[in-house]
Assembly symmetry: C2
Homo-oligomer: 560 residues x 2
């Protein structure tokens, strides 16, 4: 179905297939599902063709957003098909993310005056605060949105109706869906035996996850095309080798996807890295497989570096199981895991140190400001780096090749008057021409060695950062419950015991969030240092190669 859009940036067509669009120009998009990051559509001059999806903002009319939201049933229940939501971010071909109404204020301040949010609060439309930021995000095809996980907790949250603190009526708020509301309100019964346990300790900069006592890494190699059903179905299999066993297992994208959905389901307060996109079309297949491999490696590195995620039983199963029957058993066990969502909160061991909730609030606000700005910067750098790739493949290559062609043409003309054809000079000029044609090709090749890697890492961070609004939401929601219960206690409407319980459980949420923030920062430092160093090294090597080429060429003029 065609939708309208507006160009955020000017794009100049560089190929026959493409059309130019001007900043602020209204465009018609024939199919909202972009292919390899490109929309097909029409500009105001009536030209039809491709333009980059990330350059355009889709204009959502009222009826469009209803279409998007229709999978949420009017009763406010997600129904049983939670797997639809779970798989959405990776199977969707949409360039933007699908928002339902209450996503608009993900970066907004928590409305702690009221915990009752009108279902389908229509005042939070595109004009609400934070929309500009969301709009920006939604234009990047690499950003997925944290999916609506753990809807299965819905039933559980109403298992104990005794608490007098009001419950959110908005069943889609992540605070409710994640089970954190139920946990904070004490609706989740402590279980007799909890096999899992994750410890939060106080580090010099604040709470942090206790390191995995058996740290390991994991390689992903050798993507191989496999066929099934006598060649009707093809898929890619990756060799996955964890360092602590050294035994390779072979996994398909669907196995990664299964694991990813388990992680989303279970680890409410953790920023689970997004999987790279599923392939959209068969075009550029080799490049795509290579790119997905690179991004799966980054995904895996984040998994193994995370003290909690790396110790998850389902992950262990994914990394080690080689037997088909065992695979199915382990899969079923993971899917039946009860310590998910709200119950996962019960597995956390927090430090005994007292933290003032106001201080936590402030820490979280700082992080929120930081994360928003970092998200903006990562987006900006992604945009610039993508554009630079395009320039390397297009403009830069073309300019140097044209220069090379012109030198060749000069050299050819010099051969046309035989007695004066100056062979040695002609050769040197012709060689110079080839050198510049070659430099053009080097420019076109270079992104493979530097910008692609940068974009891979930025994409990982876009995913990680996109999770934080929801996670911060949880802590904000918990904090609001504390304030509300304190007020009720002050008015004599609630036992102090219950208020204390809520406060204590809110502290757990705060510690978990801070540990996750800390882990994020720690990884960010390592990752961005590596990214910048790798980029600079490749850039130096690149310009050195150009210098070498030119030096060799200059020597051809010696002694003429």
């Amino acid at each position: 179905m065609s939708v309208k859009g507006v160009a955020l940036y000017t794009f100049i067509s560089e190929n026959k297939e493409e059309i130019s669009i001007q900043e602020n120009e209204e465009v018609l998009i024939f199919d909202e599902n972009s292919v390899d990051g490109w929309f097909r559509g029409e500009n105001t001059r009536g030209e039809r063709g491709l333009f980059p999806a990330s350059y355009v903002k889709v204009i959502r009319t009222r009826s469009n957003s209803n279409v998007t939201d229709c999978s949420i049933s009017p009763e406010g229940s997600l129904g049983n098909d939670s797997s639809y939501f779970l798989s959405t971010p990776n199977t969707s071909l949409n360039s933007g993310r699908i928002y339902d109404e209450d996503d608009y204020d993900d970066w907004d301040d928590w409305d702690d005056g009221s915990t009752v949010v009108e279902d389908g609060d229509n005042t939070r439309g595109p004009g609400a605060n934070g929309h500009a930021y969301q709009t920006q995000l939604s234009n990047n095809p690499n950003v997925h949105y944290r999916s609506k996980s753990a809807s299965g907790q819905d039933g559980m949250s109403s298992s104990r109706k005794g608490s007098v603190v009001g419950r959110n009526l908005n069943r889609f708020s992540s605070f409710v869906r994640s089970g954190v509301e139920a946990f904070v309100l004490g609706d989740v019964p402590m279980m007799a035996k909890i096999a899992e346990s994750y410890t939060i300790e106080m580090g010099p900069l604040g709470p942090r996850w206790k390191e995995n006592p058996q740290p390991f890494t994991c390689s992903i190699e050798d993507p191989t095309k496999q066929t099934k059903f006598k060649g009707i179905k093809t898929y890619i299999s990756y060799r996955v080798t964890p360092s602590h066993t050294g035994n390779p297992v072979y996994r398909r994208y669907k196995h990664f996807d299964w694991l990813y959905n388990r992680l989303l389901h279970k680890f409410t307060v953790i920023s689970v890295p997004h999987l790279p996109e599923k392939q959209a079309t068969g075009r550029f297949e080799e490049d795509f497989i290579e790119k997905r491999k690179r991004r799966l490696i980054l995904w895996m590195n984040h998994m193994t570096s995370h003290p909690v995620l790396s110790q998850y039983e389902g992950f262990e199963h994914f990394l080690m199981c080689t037997d088909d029957k065992q695979w199915k058993l382990g899969k079923r066990r993971a899917e039946k895991d009860e310590m998910v969502g709200a119950h996962f909160m019960l597995t956390l061991q927090i430090p005994s140190e007292h933290q003032d909730l106001q201080d936590v609030e402030e820490r979280v606000d700082n992080f929120k400001t930081f994360a928003k700005k970092m998200d903006d910067s990562v987006m900006q750098l992604t945009h610039v780096a993508s554009e630079l790739v395009r320039k390397h493949l297009g403009g830069f290559r073309r300019e140097f090749q044209r220069l090379g062609n012109s030198f060749q043409s000069i050299s050819q003309s010099f051969t046309l008057d035989p007695p004066y054809k100056s062979d040695a000079l002609n050769n040197a000029i012709s060689h110079t021409g080839r050198t510049y044609e070659n430099i053009g090709e080097m420019f076109a090749e270079q992104p493979k060695y530097d910008l692609f890697q940068m974009l891979d890492k930025l994409s990982l961070y876009q995913g990680l950062l996109a999770n934080f609004p929801d996670i911060i939401h949880l802590q904000k929601g918990a904090f609001a419950k504390v304030k509300e219960s304190q007020r009720m206690s002050d008015e004599g409407k609630m036992d102090q015991d219950e208020t204390d319980g809520i406060r204590k459980r809110c502290r757990t949420v705060g510690f978990a969030l801070q540990a996750e923030m800390s882990h994020f920062h720690q990884q960010r430092e390592v990752d961005f240092k590596d990214m910048m160093q790798a980029y600079l090294r490749e850039q130096i090597a690149f310009y050195q190669r150009i210098v070498q080429q030119l030096e060799r060429t200059l020597r051809m003029y010696d002694g003429l």
Copy 2:
């Protein structure tokens, strides 16, 4: 007056003042006089602004070309004001050259079936052969056209009406105007005493000018703004120092222009280098002065390297005279010089070796093919290099600066969560940002060190090459006279003596042209070798500086 034009290339606006035009788009040009190489006009989308004059071909309608031609009086006589024509190429602000009808076939084959060309032959319009090539030439603002010199010979050519060989009725043909027709037909009386003498000798590759026995070079330095009439008039004075005297003289552009016009008047068969353009407007004054100085230096180098031009008395006067009164006397003497045009041919001493006229014809045809292709290639390289300058100042700078900005933005975001602000890493990333901003500036500065010099030299060669069609014309015309006289002699209509005289004088023209071709090739080898070496050296230095900048930046990440 507005004229229509059509875009030869697509131009993308990069500044507010500019407008984009598409290849083949019709445009309106508000003023045909380009300013600094830019037209002001309107595109088909109704946008108004600047676009490069060289990207557009002015469409000449019948009435427009009449305007251009109107200075030629209907009687077919140039009148007395030959100085108007002489100064036209340098004072005109037109981006193209002014053609009169018979210029269209400058690169055409000589029509040797008939020497009588209808006056105002309207069949040679834009559709005639060779037009495509001329059209291409006319779009380059740096190409001047050889002016209509030596019209003063007109009277002389009819001084002896005795010859039975037909005369061209087209008084505008360069063959007639240059006096070469008169010379070949023997209409120019040998004078008793000829003070000047230029020798053509046989070199290993054919006829060549005998070297100037006192070779010298000449520097042009220190362009200084001077004022006159209490500051109402300003002009630039250059310090001109010939190496053989070591005494500086101070010359203005108008002195160069005077000399240039003397050269055109006198040296019919020599490719006189064009002067650089006169200043169009006061904008970018400093850059313009610098550019004109560079180009005057190249002009001067060609003058001093030329065995004939460097020995010209008027040039000696220009280089040495320091006294005001002497200057006027010498100027008058040069203007009264009788050995110009047809008479200049009498000063040539040719070798005694026999050259078959058919062989000469073939040599000239080869050179013609070569010169046309070289002209095309020089034009192409000029176009590409100009575009590369624009990319350096625009696209390249912008891309690197954007990358730099994005790194800075990343670094800034990292400072926002104080306990985790990672100062050393932030500094390194911020420094990387500044490095890329700096690299952007380096790209913008680089053309000053390489492409500008290349464009200067290409501009000189465009001028030299643009002279050759007319010069080749002379030889073709002379050869046609030989054939015609031989036919008449065979038919008993002409004395064999007269035929032999025509053949002998035609040989002189052929030797002179070959000597000039030889000099051109010799200089071309030197100049293009120098140009390519200089360009490569600057390019190497440039990329080395980038490598150094990046290496320094990379070291900031050490030990983090």
